[in-house]
Subunit: 138 residues, 4 copies
């Protein structure tokens, strides 16, 4: 699990006066990138090696609104990990209050766009993902 | 059900060469706004009356990628409707191939931020939503 | 000159209640892509041939605000064209009132990232750009 | 002058493999907000008092590209300040190389949407802006 902090920007708000809901998916990506980096897998370096990791699915639960100038603390962690795909969970808090929970599902593709068997082809990555697995971060 | 067309813009792509996954949530909003407009409920007018409709939850399944210059056909429809909230479903196709399915859950708030009982307080809207209810659009 | 229409989306507004100013640059790109397409140069096809066209500079003058559900009519035209670069001008109106004027400067790069001499290496494109040159569109 | 750091996110890149040019305008806003905060004028607090500060104009010069995972150092400073409006300048560097210079022009409006005379109505703010005035930050 890693903790990442995002300060809500003016351009992320909408005319309801709150953060537009589409931005949380972007913050999930920010926190996931930061998490992978912290466990030793910089995504830019993985891409440079020819790997890519498309998003297969996303789930978002909006618990409370945030807005400009708010500090959002995001915990990212591995919810589950199989050989073909892994699920990252996210819990976001503002002033210790949960404002959002979500998850995203990913696979890894090689240079030919073929799905990588994580356990076999990226065993170190798979092991570290499994070790970081937990049910939630709240 | 309504059909809405979105042409993928260059600024919606990312360096994987495809549409960034966060944009589908925005297209869901475009199609939903268009759908509400077509069934007689222009969201700008609803806001002018003091109503707001925050997004409570979102689910996205990415089936195939799209990219710049693609024409995406989006069908939006009511998946379910209760007195407190309603769920909108979305099916997106490119050249008759399903590229995305998703859903979003919404409630309506009055000027005081109190949840509106749709059946009681917005009966016309509730009736029309119920009539547009269907299981999927594929 | 071409005319392109953009309907302002909810996600393009900010908590000032108006369209966030960063979106006009994106609409400039939408209108420019549409303009190039209409004069016979589809940008996706140009990219497929190995060309790319980075933005060198942008100027924006915000004359009046727009907001959700507004229909913005965008005229794009060639302000100037030399062998190394070309400038596209934009005039945006809402209900016949000018809300924005802007311009963007571009060059073309080949597959090696080298600047293309338009007159010599893309003579058809250069000729058509020159023919579409005008001082303003208001 | 203040220095603000932005790490380029994946969602800010486009399929040219680089940061989409529209994002620099957003980073200008991030750096400006941070700058105003550091000189004692938190924009959220100014809004809470009924003030708003629309963007009147923007100029961007793209000197070199950036991409995902790059650290961009942004210097924001006051280019000029009159009673009606002020211009903020921005210099962005990556690894000590200038990648972008830009400026944005702003006024302040009161609760009635009337332009505020900075020198008379916000004298402290005006004085501090003038003190931070400089020709460039490179």
């Amino acid at each position: 699990m890693s903790t990442y902090t995002h300060k809500v920007q003016y351009y992320e708000t909408d005319r309801m006066g709150i953060t537009h809901h589409s931005n949380y998916i972007r913050w999930m990506e920010e926190a996931r990138t930061d998490f992978l980096d912290k466990i030793g897998f910089n995504y830019a370096e993985m891409e440079a090696k020819g790997l890519s990791s498309p998003v297969i699915g996303v789930k978002c639960d909006y618990k409370a609104s945030t807005t400009f100038d708010d500090i959002v603390e995001i915990k990212a962690y591995v919810l589950s990990c199989t050989s073909a795909k892994f699920v990252v969970g996210y819990d976001m808090k503002k002033d210790d209050k949960v404002v959002f929970t979500g998850e995203s599902t990913h696979c890894f593709l090689d240079t030919n766009g073929k799905i990588i068997r994580l356990q076999k082809e990226l065993p170190n990555f798979y092991d570290i993902l499994c070790k970081n697995q937990q049910e939630n971060a709240i």
